[in-house]
């Protein structure tokens, strides 16, 4: 039996009066890549924001039900939200390097904890960039602006920045949507390597990407979880007609 890291039970989310997620139940296993597919506005990104409580920042956001991460109810009263966000690192659809150097981007989260020991920081930078597959390309210009990198490099920088936090989970929200095929391939390669040490949740609007890298795949539609199963099963013998229709390109 695989170990369960995240348990989502009867979970719903509202923006004001609008329900954006309806009664979601799913588990995320450790060291798997869970792909989440579905058309635009199906609640995929909201789901990620609920997992690390970035939805707290939106006025009028409200939740029902339960999400448990590593045996802790993350909407419980004693939760340290800041620590939770470090545990579930997040990579956004558009790469957003902060207007700092490459080096300072990577150590941003580390410095927040008050760690400023130079050799330690140097090590974290090299290690994270190496894992994100960017070290070789930028090691000679760590102290130049991160804004000068190409789109694909910026996205890998964002992944490295998350890795520097030493998270247990990495959540990626359509990370390759704006990138060319080669950059996409590089990122998919790093995800496969990262799986050994991290649990990965990959939201994508590109079903083929889920087929390529995800161990299991969940299909979201209009705020509901339609089905979740081994990727192979979802793509070859989906149990729900809507999944089949979506995969065949009939909508979305």
């Amino acid at each position: 039996m695989k170990q369960r890291g995240i348990l989502v039970r009867d979970f719903s989310h509202y923006y004001g009066e609008n329900r954006s997620l309806n009664n979601i139940n799913l588990d995320v296993y450790r060291n798997e890549i869970l792909g989440i597919i579905g058309p635009a506005r199906s609640g995929k990104s909201t789901f990620l924001a609920c997992l690390n409580r970035l939805n707290d920042l939106i006025p009028g956001s409200r939740v029902e039900g339960k999400i448990v991460v590593d045996d802790q109810d993350i909407y419980g009263p004693e939760v340290d939200v800041v620590a939770l966000r470090r545990k579930l690192g997040m990579v956004f659809a558009t790469p957003v390097p902060l207007p700092l150097t490459i080096y300072e981007n990577i150590v941003f989260g580390v410095r927040l904890l008050g760690k400023n020991n130079r050799p330690e920081l140097d090590e974290i930078v090299e290690d994270s960039l190496e894992k994100a597959g960017l070290w070789a390309e930028v090691k000679d210009r760590l102290h130049t602006s991160a804004l000068k990198l190409s789109g694909g490099q910026q996205q890998r920088l964002c992944i490295a920045r998350v890795l520097a936090l030493k998270p247990q989970y990495i959540m990626l929200d359509e990370p390759t949507s704006g990138l060319d095929p080669i950059s996409t391939m590089k990122i998919e390669d790093s995800l496969r390597t990262l799986k050994k040490d991290y649990t990965i949740i990959l939201v994508t609007n590109n079903t083929k990407q889920a087929a390529r890298v995800a161990d299991r795949t969940a299909f979201f539609l209009m705020g509901e979880l339609v089905e979740i199963d081994e990727t192979r099963v979802v793509f070859t013998r989906p149990s729900d007609k809507r999944t089949e229709a979506y995969l065949e390109g009939k909508f979305g």
Partner: protein
């Protein structure tokens, strides 16, 4: 329009265009005329002695050093007080709250404050700082009065500068485990600094040129200020007295030239920064 005089639309357009051209020329020429007159009559008065000697014989002789020093002190105090208050207010309004009755009241207060005539600030500063708090006519009274006067400017420019910081930066910062305050100090403020500086510089310009609010709070004693509690005369007050009392027209022109040049330089720098850092982003 129209009425008895019916013109072809094309002819009307030509007439209007010429009229507008004339009006614009008048407006611009008058404003430029003022500048040219001051510089033409004032620049010949300027030399090292004028800038480095204290006024003598009520300003008939000597330079304007003590008034320059007084102006700088006063402006410095004004900004020392107004900058933290203004930037803090802007941070609260943009980062720590959503639009509500409180924010509307705060914004309305700042707007009203911006509209209050400087003479009212002068009256207020006179009663509160000079009389009630017994600071007397002094650099401190004048500086605090000016601080209140420039506060709305600093609030408004800082708010605009902070709003121009891309929202994605904040989201990323939070997702990396920042508290709100860390997001503000490490991401938002560094990006907003040029815009905030713009507001501060703009306020320097206003403080230098202000007369009515200063004359009743800082006084008009014509000597080098020695402490926060010295009564002293700023450049613009000095200029006003020289011109109004007809003490010395050459010295008045000279002082005006220094005043106008410093304010123009400040405004040009501001304009440049504004174009570069605020307008482009938003």
């Amino acid at each position: 329009m129209g009425g008895q005089l019916k013109l072809q639309p094309r002819t009307e357009q030509k007439v209007v265009q010429v009229f507008m051209y004339l009006m614009t020329s008048i407006a611009v020429l008058v404003l430029v005329f003022i500048l040219v007159v001051i510089l033409k009559n004032g620049l010949p008065q300027l030399n090292l002695e004028f800038l480095t000697k204290n006024p003598a014989d009520m300003g008939r002789e000597g330079g304007i050093l003590s008034t320059i020093v007084a102006t700088i002190f006063l402006t410095f105090i004004a900004l020392l007080v107004a900058t933290p208050l203004g930037v803090g207010t802007a941070i609260y309004l943009t980062e720590y709250t959503v639009e509500s009755r409180i924010t509307r009241i705060i914004r309305f207060g700042a707007e009203c404050l911006a509209g209050i005539p400087s003479i009212i600030f002068g009256l207020f500063g006179f009663i509160l700082f000079v009389n009630k708090l017994k600071f007397g006519w002094s650099i401190l009274s004048g500086g605090l009065t000016l601080a209140f006067m420039v506060l709305p400017t600093i609030i408004r420019t800082s708010e605009e500068a902070i709003k121009a910081v891309p929202p994605a930066y904040r989201l990323v910062s939070f997702s990396l485990g920042s508290t709100r305050w860390q997001t503000v100090t490490r991401v938002v403020l560094p990006s907003a600094i040029p815009g905030i500086v713009t507001g501060v510089i703009l306020s320097i310009g206003r403080s230098i040129g202000e007369t009515a609010a200063v004359i009743f709070t800082a006084g008009s004693a014509l000597r080098m200020p020695t402490s926060l509690f010295s009564s002293s005369r700023t450049m613009s007050v000095h200029f006003y007295i020289l011109a109004k009392e007809g003490v010395s027209m050459p010295k008045a022109y000279g002082t005006a030239a220094v005043l106008v040049i410093s304010i123009l330089v400040i405004n040009i720098v501001t304009y440049y920064l504004m174009e570069k850092y605020i307008k482009r982003k938003s």
